[in-house]
Amino acid sequence: MKNLGTLFRYEIKKIWMRKLTWVATALLVVVCVVNASLFWWTGRGANGFQFTYTSEDGTEYSAFLTAYDQSTREGKNGSKLNGQVWDEDFFKVIHRSLPQVGENSFQLNSYLYLVDPTYFAPVDMVWTLGLDPDTVTAGEFYQARRELARSNLAGQELTAAETSHWEAQAKKIDEPFTYEYCKGAKYAIARLQSVAIILPFGIAAALCGVFSEERRDKTGPILFVASKSRFPLALAKTLAGSLTAGGIAAAAVATTIATELILLGGKLGFGTPIQLCEPQSGLTLSVGGALLTMSGLMVLYSVLCGGFVMLLSAIGNSTIALAISFLPGLAMIYMMAWGHPTGRWPDWLPYNLISSQSLYNGHMLGPLEIFQSGAMLYAVIAIVLLALCWLCWRRWAIAGR
């Protein structure tokens, strides 16, 4: 395996010498920025709500707030609660700080938007759990969250083994929660789902020539006569293609996360438990852990896509033919995305797995949780595809066709 490093470097260079690679990557990054900032653009429109709040001393506050305005007001003060433990004392402070508006949630909502948004996040969460922010205790809050998680799992028709696994997991979740403002991270998690759909386009454009260029540009004879063994060259190509695919995925994921964090407060909130983003989740993950897990899955998925594209390029030498044969795969991804929400399609498919829904998915593959089984599955399929690349390319290279 002499000179593998040098060959790998030149294979990377060959991939990135192609204008199509740069154009596809740049386009993908732009699409990720647009996708991540859609809320920011559309939220500024005329659609919004007239909020009105009258304080105890009779002062009236009123303003028309667009979705963008509402989000900005949440974010502006969201980080004031960073580091606070949501225990009994915390909820007592909330009771003291909020105005007594009875069950008038509109008044309370208006107060939070127009007067003091500090407690927006806990109030929002309490409402999500169907509780009253004026009276809720920490005990009730955590009990309601556990109930929500349980009823979510019950709705998924789990096996007995799956149910007992998640019951055991639920006991490991640390309570009370320590809060960090994490709206940017929450939105980033939600946006990764659409990144998983557009990513294969970029990968296909970048890697369509990896194993076919020798046939097109007639360098094959020189390369095959030069190499004592063709395996290091194939391995260098495979590694370069995989790294490029992973790199493009990393760029797309990083762009999405960075855009969301910049637009939605700039606070990471990576340390906070995932339950403060998705209360029904049974995972013992932090928000950062969830983002990292999904990013890792995205990279693995992109290597899998890269393996598929490279295999097609090892079989045929026409970029157009490659693009056409890639279309059915993409069509399937779109069908999954738009036609069949989670449930009808296997959980481990990228559209379902790289999504916020997977954070409270209770299905398992054998003893593995959904993220673990997805990662294993993607890695195994990618390795098989990359091995097939070598076999197909070798067949052509040795036959000299």
Binding site: L7, Y10, K218, T219, I222, A226, G400
Partner: protein
């Protein structure tokens, strides 16, 4: 040192591109003349191990063409020399040197030497897309020499070159035949008649002339015309 070819054939569905060729080649320039379509390129591709023969064998000092040790001492410049237009000449040589198993320092030293030898030292760091046809062919011969080959196979190396470049290329090849087997295929008589030590002529997949060549002989063109009716010149 001897290249032995025994009953080598390549048959396609309805055509015998090479049919039962047997040869013994030793050090020196071995000219292979033949009209277009005579089977020269097919023969050379089989001698390089990049095309599987239908029958027959090729060996260099007993080492079979399929053996890695055979490729280790082989240099090849194909008829359609493919290259990466955005690589520099130096990068191209370093890449192929890595494929040939040369260590990085050795590859750097050898590439610089070869660029000097073929007169490309001053443009080694320029992209190949800026090279003329002659410069590309010289880069092609440089890559074939990276591993100090004992067997050098060059297929129609002067195709598309202007007369000045052809002479330059011919002289370069003549120097290489002193201690290695050089097989030079062409359909242009003047490419080989004054530098070849051994002459082969090929027609319709068969070798029709296989004899030591006296460089002072002047009847090669006549022989060629008799066989091919002036297709070459």
């Amino acid at each position: 040192m001897e290249l032995t070819v025994r009953e080598l054939s390549k048959h396609y569905k309805d055509k015998k591109a090479v049919d039962g060729v047997s040869l013994r080649l030793t050090e020196g320039i071995n000219g292979l003349l033949g009209a277009n379509g005579a089977g020269k390129t097919t023969l050379m591709r089989m001698l390089c191990g990049i095309l599987k023969p239908t029958a027959g064998s090729v060996a260099l000092d007993g080492v079979d063409v399929s053996n890695e040790d055979y490729r280790a001492v082989l240099g090849y410049l194909p008829q359609d020399f493919g290259y990466y237009p955005d690589f520099t000449g130096l990068d191209f040589l370093l890449y192929l040197a890595a494929l040939k198993g040369l260590s990085r320092p050795h590859a750097k030293r050898k590439s610089a030497e070869l660029l000097e030898l073929v007169g490309l030292a001053d443009v080694g760091k320029k992209k190949i897309r800026t090279y003329s046809g002659g410069m590309r062919q010289r880069l092609g011969i440089a890559q074939a020499l990276l591993n100090d080959p004992r067997l050098l196979i060059v297929d129609e190396p002067t195709a598309g070159l202007d007369p000045k470049e052809r002479v330059r290329f011919r002289n370069l090849l003549a120097d290489l035949g002193h201690d290695s087997i050089v097989l030079l295929s062409t359909h242009i008589v003047s490419d080989v008649e004054h530098i070849a030590d051994h002459m082969l002529m090929m027609s319709e997949g068969h070798i029709i002339l296989d004899e030591p060549w006296d460089k002072s002989r002047t009847d090669l063109e006549q022989l060629y015309l008799e066989e091919f009716g002036g297709e070459g010149e």
